[in-house]
Amino acid sequence: MVVPERFLEAHNRKLLMDRSTPGRIGASLTKLDVPKTALPEVSLLRDNLDMPEVSESEIVRYFSQLSHYNFSIDHNFYPLGSCTMKYNPKVNDEMASLPGMSEIHPYQPESTVQGALKLIWHLQEILAEFMGMAGASVSPKAGAESEFAGMLMARVYHLSRGDTQRKKVLIPDSAHGTNPASAVVAGFHVVSLPTNEDGNTDLNALKAAVGDDLAGFMLTQPSTLGIFDTNLLEVIQVVRDAGGILYGDGANLNALLGKVKLGELGFDVVHSNLHKTFTQPHGGGGPGAGAVLVSERLLPFLPAPHVVRTEDDAIEKFSLVTPPQSVGRLGPFAGNFGALVRAYSYIRTLGDVGIAEVSEDAVINANYILSQLRGVYDLPHDRHCKHEVVFSAKNLKDKYGVSAKDVCKRLIDYGIHPPTMYFPLPNVVEESLLIEPTETESKETLDQFIEVMKLIAKEASESPDLLHDAPHNTTNTRLDEVLAARKPVLRWRRKTSE
C-alpha cells in the first residue's frame, strides 16, 4: 500500500543540473549550411559552459510533473481578490500565436505591419471608450509600469507649467503597494491617507493634506475594500481645486465596465490591467500589460510610442508616433503585443452586449458570497460590494487562535485557491480575506465555496490544529519562509567533494 518515499513523484525534486548526463541533448541541432569562418581569438572564447545535458523526453516529463504542483484557473476555483482570476479563453492564445502575429519583428517597416498597428489602434480606442478618456498608450508592460508612466506625466505636466514645487502624492492606505512605489520611482514623495469607517476616503484628512505642493492623488475605484467611494465627486473636486492630477488605478475595472467611466468623473489618467479585466493569462506571474489612458490635457505627454491613424485618399494608415512632450520610451518596443492580441480577441468576442454583462455578473457573484458568509466571518464594511468582498478572520483569531492564513491554507485541502490574505493591510482591516469570484464562475461553484468556508469556520471551533497544520495533501506542507530569507539559497550549485 504505502510506497517508499523515494518512489513518489512528488519527492523527486531533482533539478536539471542534477539530472544531467554527459552526451545527452534535448533538441535537434539545425544543420550548418554555410562555410565556416575562423572563430574569434581563443582568449575571447569560453571553455566553461556548464549547462544541463538532458534528453527531450526527460525534459517533457520533468516540467509536466512540475506543472502538477500548481493550482491554476483551468483546474481550480481561484477567488484571489484584486487579481481578477477569471477564465482565460483558449482561442485568445491561438490568435496570439498566429504566425502573422507572433513572428513579426518589432523593427519591421510600418508598411509591413499594418495589421498589427491597426489592432493596437483599435484597442487604444476601445479602452479609451471604456474609460471615457481622450487617448491611450498600450506600451506599458504591466499595471505598475502604467502607474509609473502616469506619475511621470503628472511630473512633466506640472514642470511644463512651471509648477516646480508640486512634489507630493497622496495615496489611500488601502492602495496596492505598487502605487506608492511607482510614485517614488517617478520622483515624488508619498503621503498615505487613512480610510474612514465607511471604507471611503477620509475627506477631512484629504482636505488637510492638499496644498500647492500637491502633485497628484492616486485612487483605486472601487477600492481594494471592494467598495465604491460614495464621496468620490467631492474627493475629485478637492484634488482638482488644489491643482493636483487625479490618477485612477484601474486594477478593479472588472466592476465598472459599462457602469461608469472614470474619465467622465474627472480623472486625468487611468490605467487598465489587461491581464485582469481582459483575460491575458497570469502565467505564474506575468506577462501582463497595462494600458495607460489620459484626458485631453495630458495627451501631449503620453509615453512613446502610441499608434495614430491617418487617412490618405480614403486609405487608412497606422503609424507609431512619439507625442510632442512625451515622458519618453518605457521599453525598447511598442509593448506586450501578445497580450494586446489576447485582450482584443476577448473584447471583440464579447462585444458591446457581452462586456456590459461582465461587471454585472462579477458584482452579483461577489455580493452573493457576501450575503451568504455574513455572520460566519467578520464583515468590516457591511454594504453592497462591487466585484470583490473583504471579510476578516478576526472572529476566529480571537476565539480559536485561527488566523486568516490558517483559513487560506485549509481551503487548499478542499481544492480551492486561497483568497488574497493580509491585503488590505492590517492597519486597514485585520486578518483580511479579500475574495473576488469573477463572472466566469457558476452559482454551483460559489455555493460549494460558501459551504466550504462555513465548514472551515466550524473546523476552527472544533479542531483548530487541523487548520494550523494545513495544507495536508500538497507536494510540500507549509514552507519555512524565514529560513529562506535568513539563509538565501537562490540557485543550484555543484556539490564540491569535501
Partner: protein, 444 residues
Amino acid sequence: MTTTFTSHFSPNTDSDREAMLTAIGVESAAELFDDIPKEFRFPGLDIPEPLSEFELRQEMGALAAQNATPGDYACFLGAGSYRHHVPAIVRALAMRGEFLTSYTPYQPEVSQGTLQAHYEFQTLICQLTGMDVANSGMYECATSLAEAAMMAARITKRDRIVMLDSVSPNYQDVVRTYTQGHELPIDIISPGQLDLPDDTACVIVQQPNFFGYLEDLQSLSDRAHKQGALLIVSVDLASLGMLKPPGDYDADIVVAEAQTLGVSPSYGGPYVGVFACKDSREFLRQMPGRIVGETIDTEGRTGYVLTLQTREQHIRRERATSNICTSVGLIALMSAIYMASQGKQGLRHLAELCYHKSHYLASLIQEIPGYSVPVEGTFFREFVMQCPLTPGEINEKLLAYKIIGGLDVSDQIENGMLLCCTDVNTREEIETLAKALAEIGGTA
C-alpha cells in the same frame, strides 16, 4: 433568424441571477450600483457587437494577413529581438494550463511547479552568464538595464550614469525615462574615452554592442572598478554559447534579453529581462524584482518560496527597491525550457550557427560593388553594411524579393544598415539577399 447573445465564458443564466439577487436582498442588479453618482451611472459603450469564434478567427486572420510575416519573408532584423527555431516542447509545456493560468506564487504550497521552474531559470541564467545570483525576471532587457543603473546609484551612493555610445539607442532612451524622476545625470561616452568622472555610479556596456561588435570588456571593467564604479553589462545571451561570459570580466550586474532563448519576436513583447549580479548582502538587499529561494517544509522536505520580499513593493511600499510587480513568469519558463533543451551542446552550436552565417553574409556583401562592411573589429551575429542608397530605399526594394532587410542605422553610420543572421537564416536566404543587393545596388 437572429440569435440573442449569450456569453460562453460566464455561466450565469437569468434564473441564476434572479436566485442570487433574491439571496442578496435586492430587486435588480442595478441596485448594486447605487453608490455610483446617478448622472454618471450606466453610460453605455460604443464598441462593436459580439463575434462568434468563427467570425473572430476570420477577423484576426485578416489582420494577421496584413502583416509581412518572417518565415514567408526572409528576415535579417535583430537589434534586440531575434528569431530562432523554437523546439515544439517549449510551447507545448508552457501552454499547459497549470503554468499558463496560475497566479504569482504567493501561496507556495500550491505553486511549487512555478517556483521550481523559476528557480531553474535563475540557476540556468547564472550558469550561462557566470554570475552569482539572478532574479526570476524583469519586463525586458531595457527596463532591466534602467533598474540596474538605479541600483548602482543606490549601492555606490553616487548619481552619475556613464553609458557607452554603442548601447542600443532605445535602451538609452529607456534608461533616461526611468531615471528622470531622480534627475540622475547621464554621460554618453565613446569606448575610447578614458576619464570617468569621480561621481560615476556605473559604466554601462552592451556586449556585443548595438552594432554587433565586441567591446573590450576587460579594460572597461578595470577602468570602472578603478574609479569605484560598478560595471553593468547588457549581454546577448546567444553569444554566451561560445564567448566568455561577463562574470569572467568581473561584471557587477548583468542584464539581458531572454527572448532570444525560445520566445518568438511577437512584435516586441512579451519578453523577459534577465537581471543577474554578484552575491553580497548589499547587492541582495538592493536587487529589484522577484527572487525564488530554496527552503524546507515542516516535514523537512525541500521546497521553494518567493524570498527576500522585504525589498518589494507589496511589503515595503514607498521604500521598495522597485515598483515592479511581475517576473514575466511564463516567458521565463519558456526560456528555461529552451535552455534545458539546447543544453551544453546546443547552446554552443546555436552560437556557432549565428557566427558562421552572419560572417558568410558579410563575406558575400564585401564582394558586391557599392557595398561594404565598414566597422573594424570582431562581430558575433550582427554587423553594419554600408549601402550605395539609403537603407530605407534598399529595404523598400528588398520587399519585392520577399526579404525584410536590416535596421536602418543611417543616423549613426552613413547609409548604414544593421544586419543579423541566426540559425533560421538559411544559406539560400543569405545568397538571395546578396543577389538582390547586387541588383538593387546596380540601379543606384
